[in-house]
C-alpha cells in the first residue's frame, strides 16, 4: 500500500491508453479495432504506439464502415472475445446504431439469456473544438435511453484510467463516451491506479445551498462555477454522474435532500435529453424536498455552430451556470 503515495504526471489521453494497455496485458481475449486506431494511432492519438506493442492481430484498423466493424465487434464478443471498438465520434456512431440497438442491446434478451455481448465501444463526443455540427454533438443521452447497455461518461483522469477494465468485465455491452475536449486534460494519478466503481455517481464538491448535477466535460465548468460561487457565499454541491445508464439516483437525491435545489448541467440538448430524465426522476422521487423548481443549463437547441463565438454561446459555460445558480438561491 505504500506505493499508493507514488503518483505520475499524465493526461486523459494517456490514462485511456494505459487502461487499454492494461486490459490487453491482463486478458488475451481483449483487442482494439476501429478507424485509424493502428498505423495512425487513433484520430485522438489514444492508441498511438499500441500497434507496435501488441501487433496487427490485436490492434486492428478497419474499413470506414461503422455498421460493419461494430457488427464485427458484436460477433467477436458473442464468439468469446472481449473487443474494444473505437468509433471516431458519436455522430458517426449513428451509422452503427442499428448494430448497437437492434443487436448488441437485444441479443441477451432475445436469446432468453443464452448469448450475452461483452463488448466495449469507445467514442468521442461533445463540442468545443470548432469541428462543426457533424462532429460536435453530445448524443450520449440518446444512448442512455436504450435498455440492455451501460453508458459511461468518464470526466476525470481517474475514471479515464479506471473505467475500461470493469466495463470489459461487464457481461453486457458498455459504451464509453469521451468528451473530445478532455483528451489534453493533465493531472496526476497514483502510479498503480486501479479499476473504479462504475455504478455510482460521485460528489466532487460539497455544499449545502444547491446541487449541481453534471457529467463529462461540463463537470469542470460546474466545479469552476462552484469555486466562484463559494467566494460569494453560495456553497454548491457538484455531482459527477459518471454513469448515465443506469443512473445512480441515490447520490443526487441524497444531495437534494440536503440542499433542496437542483440544477442540471448537460452539454446535450434540453428537449428529451438526459437532463429531462434526471429532472423527471427528481420530481418523482424528491418532489417534497424541492424548494424551487429544478433548473437546467443545456446546449442551445441548434446544430452546434462552427464559429468559435457561436459555439461558445451554444454550450453551457461557467458564467451561465453561475447565473442560474444565483437565480436559484436568491431571495427577493
Amino acid at each position: 500500500m505504500s506505493k499508493q503515495s507514488a503518483t505520475v504526471e499524465t493526461s486523459y489521453r494517456e490514462a485511456l491508453k494505459e487502461a487499454i494497455r492494461e486490459a490487453m496485458t491482463r486478458d488475451e481475449r481483449v483487442f482494439l479495432m476501429g478507424e485509424d486506431v493502428g498505423h495512425y494511432g487513433g484520430c485522438y492519438a489514444v492508441s498511438k504506439g499500441l500497434l507496435a506493442e501488441f501487433g496487427p492481430e490485436r490492434i486492428r484498423d478497419t474499413p470506414l464502415s461503422e455498421s460493419a466493424f461494430v457488427g464485427a465487434g458484436i460477433g467477436a464478443a458473442l464468439g468469446g472475445m472481449r473487443p474494444i471498438v473505437e468509433v471516431m465520434t458519436v455522430n458517426f456512431s449513428l451509422l452503427a446504431l442499428d448494430q448497437i440497438m437492434n443487436n448488441a442491446a437485444t441479443i441477451r434478451h432475445m436469446s432468453g439469456g443464452q448469448f450475452n455481448v461483452p463488448l466495449v465501444i469507445r467514442m468521442a463526443t461533445g463540442a468545443g473544438k470548432q469541428l462543426a455540427a457533424q462532429h460536435a454533438h453530445s448524443l450520449e443521452g440518446w444512448y442512455a435511453h436504450i435498455p440492455g447497455i451501460r453508458i459511461l461518461a468518464p470526466a476525470t483522469l481517474e475514471d479515464a484510467r479506471g473505467m475500461l477494465w470493469p466495463a470489459l468485465l461487464d457481461p453486457d455491452p458498455v459504451l464509453i463516451f469521451e468528451n473530445n475536449t478532455l483528451y489534453n486534460l493533465e493531472g496526476t494519478l497514483p502510479e498503480n491506479a486501479v479499476a473504479v466503481d462504475i455504478d455510482k455517481a460521485k460528489v466532487m464538491h460539497t455544499g449545502n445551498d444547491l446541487t449541481i448535477i453534471s457529467y463529462s466535460a461540463s463537470l469542470f465548468k460546474c466545479l469552476d462555477a462552484a469555486k466562484a460561487l463559494s467566494r460569494e457565499g453560495v456553497e454548491a454541491e457538484v455531482i459527477d454522474l459518471r454513469t448515465l445508464r443506469p443512473l445512480d439516483d441515490a447520490t443526487y437525491l441524497a444531495s437534494i435532500a440536503k440542499t433542496h435545489r437542483a440544477l442540471i448541467v448537460d452539454e446535450g440538448w434540453r428537449s428529451g435529453g438526459i437532463s429531462a430524465e434526471i429532472s423527471a426522476r427528481i420530481m418523482e422521487q424528491a418532489f417534497y424536498e424541492l424548494d424551487i423548481p429544478v433548473e437546467r443549463v443545456c446546449s442551445a437547441e441548434v446544430p452546434i455552430p462552427y464559429a468559435r463565438h457561436l459555439e461558445e454561446a451554444a454550450l453551457p459555460q461557467v458564467d451561465t451556470i453561475i447565473a442560474a445558480a444565483k437565480r436559484m438561491v436568491s431571495h427577493g
Partner: protein, 404 residues
C-alpha cells in the same frame, strides 16, 4: 393626495384587522390591485384599491384592528394625473354604527372586470417549504414568501417559525391561524347573528312562492352539456342565477338597497351567492354583473367563487357589493326555503331541490321535474304585486333557457 381606508366588507362589519400590507410605500398601484389583506369576523379578505397612484406611508401597521373607515394610508396620484375617484373610499367610518354608509359607498363601478384571474390568487409555495411548515406547525397562510414570484420557500417558513406572524404580536393576543381558529368561527356566528337580528327587527318581510316546471329547461341543459367536456358542463344552479338576473331586469325594484328610508335601485346586478363553509357558517360573496355573463362564464364564476370562499381568498369588492342574494339549498333535499334578507338589500330569492312531482296541466296529470322558488322581499321597498311579477318573470325566463 388620497386616502385608503379600512373598507366595509358587509353591513355587519364594524372593525377590521389589517393583517398584511401587500404594497410598500412608494409602490405604484392601479385600479383593482390588491393592496392589503384584512381579517374580519367572517375571515380573511384581500382588499382592492379603486384608483391609480403611489402608496404613501402606512398609518396603520399590520396587526392593528381599526374601525371601518379609518385611513390606513395616504396615497399620491401619479404625476399630474388627477384622481377623482376618492369617492370610492368615502369615509363610512364616521357612521360606522349606522348601517347605511359602507355598502353604498363601496359598491364597485360597473366597469369592474367580472372575471379576475385565478392564478393571481394562489400563493406559490415550494413543496419542501409546505412540508416543513407542516412539520413545524406553521400556518402557510401566515408566511411571507421571498422567493421568485413571491414564492414561499424553506427560509421563509423557518423565519416564520422563529418569529411568529407579526400580527399576533402587535394586536389582540389571538392565535395566528385566522382561517381555522375557533375564535373565527365564533366571530362569524356573532356577525351572522347581528345581521340577521337586524334584518328581522327592521325589515318587514313578505314571502311569495312559486313552483316552476323545470322539465323543458333541464332537458335543454342536458342536451347542451352533452356537447361539452365534463369540466365545462353547466349545473342547474347557474341557470337559476341567470334567470334571477333576467327577472331582476324586468322588476328592478328588487335589486338594490333600502337606505335612509328610501329604496335605491342599483343599475348593476351583483348577486350575492350564499356559500356554506365547511367548518360552519355562511358567506355571501357577490358575482358581478350576472346579467351580462354567458352561462359558461357564470358557471366558471360560481365555481371560482366557491373555491375561493372556502380557501379564504375573497376580495373586498365581492364582499361588499351584492345587490341581492340567492340561496340554493337544493342539494340537501329541502323543498322550500324561507330566507332572511341580508340588509340593506331588499330581496332574497331561494331555491329548494329540483325534484319530480305530480303536475297537472291542461286537464292531464304528469310527472315533471320542478323547483320551488321563494321570494323574500322588503315590504318597505316593494309590494306583493311586484313580487309576483318577479316570480312570473323568473318562471318565464326559466322556460326559455336557450335565451339565458
Amino acid at each position: 393626495m388620497g386616502e385608503f381606508r379600512m373598507p366595509s366588507l358587509g353591513a355587519d362589519m364594524e372593525t377590521g384587522k389589517l393583517v398584511e400590507w401587500l404594497v410598500k410605500p412608494g409602490d405604484r398601484f392601479k385600479r383593482g390591485d390588491i393592496v392589503a389583506t384584512v381579517e374580519t369576523q367572517k375571515g380573511l379578505f384581500e382588499v382592492e384599491i379603486f384608483e391609480e397612484g403611489i402608496m404613501g406611508e402606512p398609518l396603520v401597521q399590520a396587526g392593528q384592528r381599526v374601525p371601518v373607515g379609518t385611513v390606513l394610508a395616504v396615497t399620491h396620484p401619479e404625476g399630474a394625473v388627477a384622481v377623482t375617484e376618492s369617492t370610492m373610499q368615502a369615509p363610512p367610518g364616521e357612521t360606522a354604527g349606522k348601517p347605511s354608509g359602507p355598502l353604498e359607498t363601496l359598491s364597485a363601478p360597473a366597469a369592474t372586470p367580472p372575471q379576475p384571474s385565478l392564478s393571481a390568487e394562489r400563493v406559490p409555495c415550494s413543496p419542501s417549504a409546505r412540508r416543513l411548515a407542516a412539520e413545524l406547525g406553521v400556518n402557510i397562510e401566515d408566511v411571507r414568501g421571498t422567493g421568485p414570484h413571491g414564492a414561499i420557500q424553506r427560509t421563509d417558513v423557518e423565519m416564520a417559525a422563529h418569529h411568529p406572524a407579526a400580527p399576533a404580536e402587535t394586536s389582540v393576543p389571538s392565535p395566528t391561524a385566522p382561517a381555522t381558529s375557533g375564535t373565527l368561527q365564533e366571530g362569524m356566528r356573532q356577525a351572522i347573528a347581528a345581521a340577521m337580528s337586524r334584518s328581522n327587527r327592521e325589515i318587514p318581510h313578505y314571502y311569495l312562492e312559486m313552483d316552476i316546471d323545470m322539465s323543458r329547461t333541464l332537458k335543454w341543459l342536458e342536451g347542451e352539456n352533452l356537447k361539452h367536456p365534463i369540466r365545462e358542463r353547466i349545473l342547474p344552479a347557474a341557470l337559476l342565477l341567470k334567470a334571477v338576473a333576467k327577472a331582476l331586469q324586468d322588476v328592478p325594484e328588487l335589486n338594490g338597497y333600502w337606505l335612509d328610508d328610501h329604496l335605491q335601485v342599483k343599475p348593476e346586478i351583483h348577486i350575492g351567492f350564499a356559500v356554506a363553509l365547511r367548518g360552519g357558517g355562511l358567506i355571501t360573496p357577490a358575482i358581478h354583473n350576472v346579467d351580462r355573463l354567458a352561462l359558461s362564464e357564470l358557471m366558471k364564476a360560481v365555481g371560482d367563487l366557491i373555491e375561493r370562499t372556502r380557501a379564504g381568498r375573497l376580495r373586498s369588492s365581492e364582499m361588499s357589493d351584492g345587490t341581492m342574494t340567492v340561496t340554493n339549498l337544493g342539494d340537501l333535499g329541502v323543498r322550500t326555503v324561507f330566507g332572511v334578507i341580508y340588509p340593506p338589500q331588499v330581496a332574497l330569492v331561494t331555491f329548494g331541490r329540483i325534484m319530480e312531482r305530480p303536475w297537472a296541466e291542461g286537464g292531464m296529470l304528469g310527472v315533471r321535474r320542478c323547483v320551488t322558488a321563494t321570494l323574500a322581499a322588503d315590504h318597505r321597498a316593494t309590494d306583493g304585486h311586484r313580487g309576483s311579477q318577479f316570480l312570473d318573470a323568473l318562471d318565464r325566463h326559466m322556460q326559455h333557457p336557450e335565451a339565458l
